[in-house]
């Protein structure tokens, strides 16, 4: 195939062990662009709406994308997709490293797992050899340890993705780990993998990929390489990664502290990017085809504990497991990062769950008796370690937290729902939205629950006025179309999005690889189609109007920021409702947050309208019709 595809898709029935090798459906890629687009389409079509996300009818899809491995910088991503057990809606998560390209070099664009294996297995792929092998010796191993063992057993040139004990025990925010520090963390993809008794995927490949126009691609890539090597912002990325952002986030009152109680952390100097480089850094680390090497391979050294090595903490983990937990030592933050990685839990949701539990302990809602005689105090790395072991192995009330903060709050009650910082069941990223209304709207409306990667608006909020909600909706909609394209094409947003490479240039690369001849407008429309399909899927599975699920926890409007530069700031429920109303209007949805037939037909997915109508949740026709343009590119006026 001279279009960037490897040519084969594997369909694996884990119940029977049957492995089918099928030609990759090029038309499907053309329509859905791969990555997150294809996983969204397949799970919509094939997973029954009442299927248990941890049951045999859920699919677990590994998609290597259309652009990854194809002679471009940072074409490194691999996308995982399934119905999320955390949100009960369409879920996806991606990671960098080397697995995606390795899969394509072995000859496979996608692996679709179905069923449940009767015993633990791992998938072994060595070019044309594809086998399910006994994972008995590896089951129970922690993620990083398991990856190391598989490499010892099979060779350093195998790319490995593993789950840890958390996924084996059905912790709903479990992650998939690769390359000793890259994770597909969000939406509980690890839990789905674990529910299928799939311990790991080991891949080696050395075949070639063909692209449509190699000469043009080479010329363009050469230009991009030369430009980005000289780009002034490359060196900061190389030196500090995203951890540099911690100080800025604190100074501008968006960092979460003490479970999002406040947005300014007095001890930020002890856990920022400077401290990470000074105290923990071993070396810089890069993904396939990338010299940004934003990854930081570090050590955590704590007296009385063994020295551990990890990749991170990057910004999200640094904030959510740092200021959000009251930590005062970067080594402690790094150690918690390592605990989460090795147990196999998303460090973002993990930080949110620990913080929630800490606040519950502070308020006396859970006690030392509940915690096996231990405390769970702010800033205590020992307490966190003990608590995480309870959660990962579902000991005692650790079981309450296994489903994330939403489910834990439902069990604990006593008003704790107010400070379970999640939307749709997924914990928030490392930004507080009370003084960044566009960011709050981004969390509220993300298709996979609270997540910043779909839309990040903090600088927009600063430019437009942090106390105003005006105009945020259209910008959020636009960002929700353009940012997920990176996950659809399986390329890294940090490289391709932060170094002055234009969307037109990215699409040019896509066209050199595929020969599709698409425009940026075409790509945005595809992204909008994916977004709406996911919205319909979520509504169908959860059988309620979409608006029901789009609210943040009550802390977002009941608690003004108590300290720091943002003291006294916060939004009202009326403002939150206003943002939602404007968002739905900008999207062409009705006031209940449901897509309309007119919109779905316009996007070419009218079949989704039939399903919504059958369930009684089809959006009512909008007076005057749907907007002709959904989402507007942001032009900064005040900077």
């Amino acid at each position: 195939m001279a279009n960037g595809l490897a040519g084969e898709t594997l369909r694996i029935d884990l119940t029977t062990g049957r492995i089918r090798r099928l030609p990759t459906d090029e038309a499907l890629y053309r329509r859905w662009h791969g990555g997150r687009g294809i996983t969204a389409k397949i799970i919509y079509d094939e997973v029954p709406r009442q299927a248990d996300p941890l049951g045999p009818q859920n699919l677990f899809i590994v998609n290597a994308g259309i652009m990854s491995g194809c002679y471009i910088p940072a074409g490194s991503k691999v996308e995982f997709g399934s119905v999320s057990p955390l949100t009960n809606g369409p879920g996806d998560s991606n990671m960098g490293g080397h697995l995606g390209p390795a899969l394509k070099f072995a000859g496979y664009d996608m692996i679709i797992f179905e069923g449940v294996s009767p015993k633990p297995v791992y998938l072994f792929v060595d070019n044309d050899t594809v086998e399910l092998r006994d994972a008995g010796p590896y089951w129970g191993m922690k993620s990083l340890d398991c990856e190391k063992k598989l490499k010892e057993d099979w060779g350093e040139d195998f790319e490995i993705a593993t789950i840890g004990p958390a996924a084996e025990n059905g912790i709903l925010f479990s992650c998939i780990t690769h390359d000793f520090g890259r994770q597909a963390g969000r939406t509980g993809q690890g839990a789905v993998m674990g529910s299928k008794k799939l311990k790991a995927i080991a891949v080696r490949g050395n075949k070639s990929l063909q692209v449509n126009d190699l000469d043009s691609l080479k010329k363009q890539v050469t230009d991009i390489i030369l430009r980005t090597k000289k780009h002034p912002n490359m060196v900061p990325w190389q030196k500090y990664g995203t951890a540099f952002f911690i100080q800025w986030s604190n100074s501008n009152a968006v960092i979460p502290a003490y479970n999002f109680q406040t947005t300014y952390y007095e001890d930020i100097d002890k856990i920022d990017g400077d401290k990470l480089v000074e105290k923990c850094l071993i070396t810089h680390k890069a993904c396939f085809g990338c010299w940004m090497n934003c990854g930081k391979y570090t050590r955590a050294v704590i007296p009385g504990k063994p020295e551990v090595h990890l990749e991170g903490p990057e910004y999200e983990t640094g904030s959510l497991c740092g200021s959000n937990l009251g930590m005062k030592d970067i080594n402690h933050v790094a150690y918690i990062n390592w605990l989460l990685d090795n147990l196999g839990m998303d460090s973002m949701s993990g930080g949110g769950v620990i913080a929630f539990a800490m606040e519950c302990f502070e308020r006396g809602l859970i006690t030392e008796k509940d915690l096996e005689g231990c405390t769970l105090k702010w800033g205590s790395v020992d307490d966190v370690e003990h608590f995480l072991e309870m959660v990962a192995y579902r000991r005692g009330i650790g079981d309450w937290f296994a489903g994330g903060t939403k489910r834990a709050a439902a069990k604990i009650g006593q008003g704790s729902e107010k400070f379970a910082m999640q939307v749709k069941g997924q914990e928030m990223s490392g930004y507080d939205g009370r003084w960044a209304p566009g960011m709050l709207l981004s969390y509220m409306t993300a298709d996979i629950g609270a997540h910043h990667n779909r839309s990040w608006t903090i600088t927009v909020d600063m430019a437009e006025g942090r106390e105003s909600v005006e105009g945020r909706a259209k910008i959020v909609v636009y960002l929700q179309h353009i940012r997920p394209l990176f996950d659809t094409w399986c390329i890294c947003r940090l490289f391709w999005g932060e170094l002055d490479i234009t969307p037109e240039e990215i699409v040019e690369s896509l066209n050199h690889i595929t020969g599709w001849g698409v425009t940026v407008g075409d790509a945005l429309r595809t992204s909008e189609m994916i977004w709406n399909l996911n919205r319909c899927h979520f509504i169908e599975r959860n059988r309620a109007n979409g608006r029901t699920f789009d609210y943040p926890p009550a802390r977002a409007w009941e608690d003004k920021i108590p300290t720091g530069p943002g003291k006294g700031k916060g939004l009202s429920l009326a403002q939150i409702d206003q943002m939602l109303d404007e968002y739905y209007a900008a999207r062409g949805w009705d006031k209940n947050g449901n897509p309309t037939r007119e919109l779905l037909d316009d996007l070419g997915i009218g079949y989704a309208a039939e399903n919504l109508e059958r369930l009684g949740f089809l959006g009512k026709p909008i007076p005057g019709g749907i907007p002709a343009v959904r989402g507007e590119k942001y032009k900064p006026k005040a900077f």
């Binding site: 960098g96 780009h231 002034p232 912002n233 060196v235 900061p236 030196k239 500090y240 995203t242 540099f244 952002f245 100080q247 800025w248 986030s249 501008n252 990017g273 400077d274 990057e314 910004y315 999200e316 490392g430 930004y431 910043h452 990667n453 990040w456 903090i458 600088t459 600063m462 430019a463 890294c492 947003r493 940090l494 932060e498 170094l499 002055d500 900064p636 005040a638 900077f639």
Partner: protein
């Protein structure tokens, strides 16, 4: 006193480079912090996460010296 500021992205647009594609020459008073210098040329300091000089991280309270070449890093979201 003359210093040189450089950056990419939207920050570059606001910087209005005049030396090369990324770099602007700024005449300023000695003794001012980077934050004050940015405000003086119409750039909201909140849109600079930190600065880099000779490969070393500098915060916005850094006071530049004659001839400093300073890279401005805009804030971005993580992955």
């Amino acid at each position: 006193m003359v210093i040189y500021l450089k950056s990419g992205g939207e920050l570059r647009t606001k910087l209005q480079p005049d030396v090369d594609y990324y770099t602007r020459r700024v005449e300023t008073e000695a003794g001012l912090s980077l934050k004050d210098i940015l405000a003086g040329i119409g750039i909201n300091p909140a849109f600079v996460a930190f600065a880099l000089k000779d490969g070393e991280l500098k915060r916005l309270d850094y006071v530049p010296s004659e001839g400093d070449v300073i890279t401005l890093q805009p804030p971005v979201s993580g992955g």
